[in-house]
Chain length 216, copies 2
Amino acid sequence: MTLNRRLAAKAARLLPEHKPPGSPGLILEAALKLFAERGYAAASVREIAAASGLKPATIYGHYPSKEHILAELCRVGHEEQNRSVRAAVLNSGADPRDQIVAYVRAHVGMHTSFPMLAVVANAELHVLSAELGAATFSLREQSERLLGEIIQRGLDRGVFHVPNAWLAVAAIGGMGLRVAYWYSPEYRLEPHEVADVYAEYALRILAVKTDPSAGL
Amino acid sequence: MTLNRRLAAKAARLLPEHKPPGSPGLILEAALKLFAERGYAAASVREIAAASGLKPATIYGHYPSKEHILAELCRVGHEEQNRSVRAAVLNSGADPRDQIVAYVRAHVGMHTSFPMLAVVANAELHVLSAELGAATFSLREQSERLLGEIIQRGLDRGVFHVPNAWLAVAAIGGMGLRVAYWYSPEYRLEPHEVADVYAEYALRILAVKTDPSAGL
DNA sequence: CGAACGAACGAACGATCGTTCGGATGCGTG
DNA sequence: CACGCATCCGAACGATCGTTCGTTCGTTCG
């Protein structure tokens, strides 16, 4: 179970709208897999090239540097996460409880659907220079603030009960983040099962009074 | 807030009982800081040597390889974590609820007290060969199994209510893990505050019926 | 047909990597 | 003083790193 691998997922996955056509897309996909499995610093441009069916020199015809490839992956990952949770919350009505459920479901869903993208976008982000990471930092802050605002609204309305809104953000965000490392499609658990259970956990953390007849 | 750093902590911390005297201790401490901030692959032996006040060649008089230094840090980190949670649980009586509180408090306490050690021991573990990582893997599995057994006992006794014990382990463990990345001693939050709140969150995740008069 | 162009490549650049080796230095013990 | 022993270091090893340069190739378009 606890194997000597960084994450359980074995295949890189990139949405068509985030994967440019042709060689740039192949490069991005190969880099995603290598960055996720070995880490940015331990993955060489030569390995990325080989995995893309190209030669190292060709990479630089499509990306100015190795760091730019990482920056693109981080941006894409955070963009997908931000887009996902924002859409989910907007579709969930005005009740903070529904919004939390929508947010956590989308957040966890992102980490089960794109585990490699999530791992790279979060664990390798610190490598980026302030300039190359600016877009990603902004997206990350947006998502975090959205969760914070939902929780604050729930507190103001008296439907949530936690001593510290920020600690709830950290706890709910943190447990979702970790999913990307252990989730594998060949698991006994379907993505929606994980998402549903984690959404329930989030409600419990926030001490929402639930219908006892709903059972476990 | 969301700065371009891997973790918020700024100083490496190593318990005296885990820090060998003399140069080996200095090397271990310097490597801890560099591995935590930049990652194992991005930190060079020359940097570790400079930070220890030594020359690169001297490192190899105390450790056979760079990987052995990481292996030692991972082992120390997981040993401290394992020792801490085991002691806490043993001191907490037979009630699974008390055991969960003790476990989570110790677990979170480890991540606030030794954030760099926790980050390195968890995020860089995958680098180690099966041989060099064996001791660490064993400790990690022990800790995880202990948490799983506590939760299972609580389920059997009917004091916990979750649909899936493993998902609860993942959620509770995951939210604690993440603390090491954002916690900083210069925060407004004391370590015990974080630990107490997270212990409460764990109880809520497990749907323990608490005294409503206890407030938030 | 021939000019223009983007994509891909072979080869090499300087830099840095982990690591090794032989020797210098200091110190406690005979 | 002479010795053994551990510590430390200067210098260098081969390997690999990210990146660049000049060129070749196939396609497109006038």
